[in-house]
Symmetry: none
Subunit: 137 residues, 4 copies
């Protein structure tokens, strides 16, 4: 029996469903990606008409959040010109360091995956990502 | 006004759900990707413990099926050494030409997207892809 | 039955012809690319002596405009250091976020493709892209 | 005044137009690319509904034909398993070595560019490429 790595598909799909629900509640069209603890894609959904460019960005946000176990926006504050992580976006095949990516934790506080949301303002992206991450217990 | 391109998220999720159901019925663990008529990812799911390497292969299969509007295995029969399409895998950033990718058509027979399945034998991959594609009316 | 995605070749060629006409009127040499609603190349022309480096840039501009359904320059205003989309150029295999890319809409206001122009100042690139997009009804 | 390299846009567009005419005459849907003497894209057109995967293949065929100044199919005969050029497709970022790419020569017999056609059988691709190349004097 092969081993899963952290988040299950059932949990990932619950996160996607909660994110879609929040996206519709605030009137946006989002691309939503969930990666497991290994940083590998587990579930993805693009709302009808959501930006095509956000297919990639949502996945990068999710990976970036797991790569460093912090919100993507927190990394972006450190990667500005003059900041300590300036240019980190060039690593790992390309990172996205503005808000919309969040680690997903289990009840014990362990990081079991991450969610990335893209398709609107970064504030809305972050709000929808929070709703998705909160759906995983 | 944003425009969707072919298959809807609802249809794509129905295809993924039907593919998962078939995968479980035959005792496999699959990665399943659905692209729209533009070849862009619309829905994705990886069953718990399914091969990590199939995350990429399932997506390439789906794109390959849409790129040429035929089953991926049909292309593979033409791309063998000595065949008319030998080496076609070098195009489009890498193609997969063994079975598991199928166009998805609407009731009028138009191609509105494609599904790619990877995680088991190519026969099983094809069987699961068929179940997914058949779920879209 | 193959399906087209948005803009037709006839419309795309009309956009290219109008862009070339404008380019000649203002004394520039341009590369001009048109993508369909799926972000895939539909028509392309390079005026004699236009920059070789703009072959790629014009295509990326067209895709970028369709990826986010807005002018490329509007994205560039958001992606400056300190801006909300700082670093977005690292996604989607590389974006171009200065002016010269525009969505192409049909009479109903739906985005059916995009045009990207490169070869002169970004102001001229934008002017020529506008002429191209306006030629599609 | 910047220099053009071989084929002019006017000649390249004539080649594309002749190729489209032939494609329609034989009932196919083609992607057609023309590169200049430097191997750089000069003109491109995709007939409505033509394979998306052929956007890339037509361009690679045109480049491959210019890279070696011979029909792509001639290279393919040398690159089969056991042949002297086995594996050449791995070079130059990926080559296509089945028919459909042809050098374009001027009246003096000099190679001034190349055409690549993809979208049907390799025999049809070659036929349409020949019609395109013949339109350039």
């Amino acid at each position: 029996m092969p081993s899963a790595v952290g988040i299950t598909l059932k949990q990932a799909q619950a996160a996607v469903a909660a994110a879609i629900e929040k996206s519709q509640a605030i009137g946006t069209l989002m691309d939503i990606a969930v990666v497991d603890a290994g940083g590998n894609l587990t579930a993805f959904a693009r709302e009808d008409g959501a930006w095509q460019g956000s297919i990639d960005i949502s996945q990068i946000k999710a990976r970036t959040a797991r790569y460093f176990d912090m919100p993507t926006g927190a990394i972006g504050q450190l990667s500005q010109p003059g900041g300590p992580l300036f240019g980190i976006e060039h690593s790992n095949g390309g990172l996205i360091t503005f808000p919309g990516g969040l680690p997903i934790k289990n009840a014990a506080g362990e990081v079991i995956g991450a969610i990335g949301v893209s398709g609107s303002s970064v504030e809305n992206d972050h709000t929808v990502a929070e709703a998705g991450a909160a759906a995983v217990k």
